[in-house]
């Protein structure tokens, strides 16, 4: 249990912001658990932070104050959204140039729209390289599929993760075991997902145009 001096910084790398969306919800889950254990917290929306000099400065100062950096983001084409990468470039440059005696711990939580959590693994490796370059202490990366839903076993994994982070002990293997398994078989996800897309398009009146090819090259 922290005496209030431990500080977690939640970095949300989703365009949907620090409150809405799966990344914010997943990150908040961990932050709430740490707050219950006496931690203080701060959240920064990376898309907003990299837009202005003031936002960038605030981001870097928050990094310097944090004991734990919690990076929550969606998977965009096997990597992170561009503004999240921009923030990482700025953070790494700042940490290389500045005083890095203070080494915050670093945890990433990635979610993707495919059913397999394993599709986040390339991006987790990118974040490990970032942590190394920014002189953070890599703790673990949690990967979730299915749009970042939080079923009971993932809640259990998050509880274990919160406990390990608070006590500064090794994250139990159980966390990876509980989060690694897809929510359902791939064929079922494809079936259900495709029905959802059709219904959504129907509601928007574009069901007949779903396969449109506006950029088809002439002659192909």
């Amino acid at each position: 249990m922290s005496d209030g001096s431990e500080r977690v910084l939640l970095l949300v790398g989703s365009p949907k912001g620090p409150e809405k969306g799966s990344s914010a919800r997943l990150g908040r889950w961990i932050v709430d658990g740490l707050e219950e254990r006496g931690w203080t917290s701060e959240a920064i929306h990376l898309h907003a932070a990299v837009r202005t000099g003031e936002g960038r400065q605030g981001l870097l100062e928050s990094i310097d104050r944090a004991n734990l950096v919690l990076f929550a983001a969606p998977l965009y084409v096997d990597s992170l959204p561009a503004p999240a990468i921009r923030a990482m470039e700025q953070i790494a440059e700042h940490r290389r140039a500045g005083d890095t005696r203070r080494v915050p711990r670093f945890v990433s939580i990635l979610n993707c729209g495919f059913v397999e959590p394993s599709q986040n693994e390339t991006c987790q490796r990118i974040l490990q390289w970032f942590a190394d370059r920014a002189r953070f202490e890599w703790v673990t990366g949690v990967s979730l599929g299915g749009g970042g839903r939080i079923p009971r076993r993932v809640r259990r994994a998050f509880d274990l993760l919160v406990e390990a982070l608070d006590l500064e002990i090794l994250v139990p293997d159980e966390v990876q075991r509980l989060t690694r398994k897809p929510l359902m078989p791939g064929w079922l996800y494809v079936l259900g997902g495709n029905v959802m897309w059709k219904r959504w398009a129907d509601k928007n009146g574009v069901k007949d145009r779903l396969r449109a090819q506006p950029y088809r090259r002439s002659g192909s």
Binding site: A82, N204, S220
Partner: protein
């Protein structure tokens, strides 16, 4: 039909880091009869993807943001060879390159399908460009693990973006011209470029 190559240059600052590698790639492609277009992305205003799925569910195939990102996405899918040119950034792409890639998802279908047992988006178009990733390492020589990560990332992109072939190379800022030229030409040839 003419062979079109599009080079997306993801250099962050004044272009000095990727310039040499970009020129080598351009020259090799032109010698091979390709029509080459290079886009210095740092000079092009492209808003970040909103993650709204509007390009699938409101205006299928076209991003809801009306800016240069639409034109870049169109050029991407209408090319025969797409070259990602980027400073090696934590084993991946720079933010400048990624802003264009993020905005290219209108070129995919929202529908899911299984590819070797894994869920991916189906194709919207009959044909997609071959993909070559050229990364320039600021450290002079990249760590082999970071180099392998870059290759994995481009391979994963090739699956998601339906590229019929792909190849990568990582060159260092301190590599001599001949080494750099050989590596880049090998990657282009591997993806059946020139």
């Amino acid at each position: 039909m003419e062979k079109r190559a599009l080079i997306l240059d993801g250099d962050l600052d004044d272009g000095t880091m990727t310039r040499g590698a970009g020129e080598v790639a351009s020259d090799a492609l032109r010698r091979g009869g390709w029509q080459v277009t290079g886009l210095p992305l740092r000079e092009i205003e492209i808003a970040p993807c909103l993650g709204c799925f509007g390009c699938w569910m409101k205006t299928p195939g076209v991003c809801v943001i009306d800016d240069a990102g639409r034109d870049v996405a169109r050029r991407m899918v209408q090319s025969d060879l797409l070259v990602y040119l980027t400073p090696l950034t934590f084993g991946g792409f720079s933010s400048e390159l990624k802003k264009a890639i993020d905005r290219s998802i209108p070129n995919l279908s929202p529908f899911f399908r299984l590819v070797r047992g894994e869920v991916h988006h189906a194709r919207r178009y009959a044909r997609y460009p071959r993909l070559v990733g050229i990364a320039v390492s600021a450290d002079g020589k990249a760590d082999p693990d970071e180099e392998e990560l870059f290759d994995t990332l481009v391979r994963r992109n090739a699956i998601n973006l339906h590229a019929p072939a792909h190849a990568t190379c990582v060159v260092g800022t301190v590599d001599d011209d001949e080494v750099r030229r050989r590596r880049i030409e090998w990657a282009l040839a591997e993806a059946n470029g020139p």
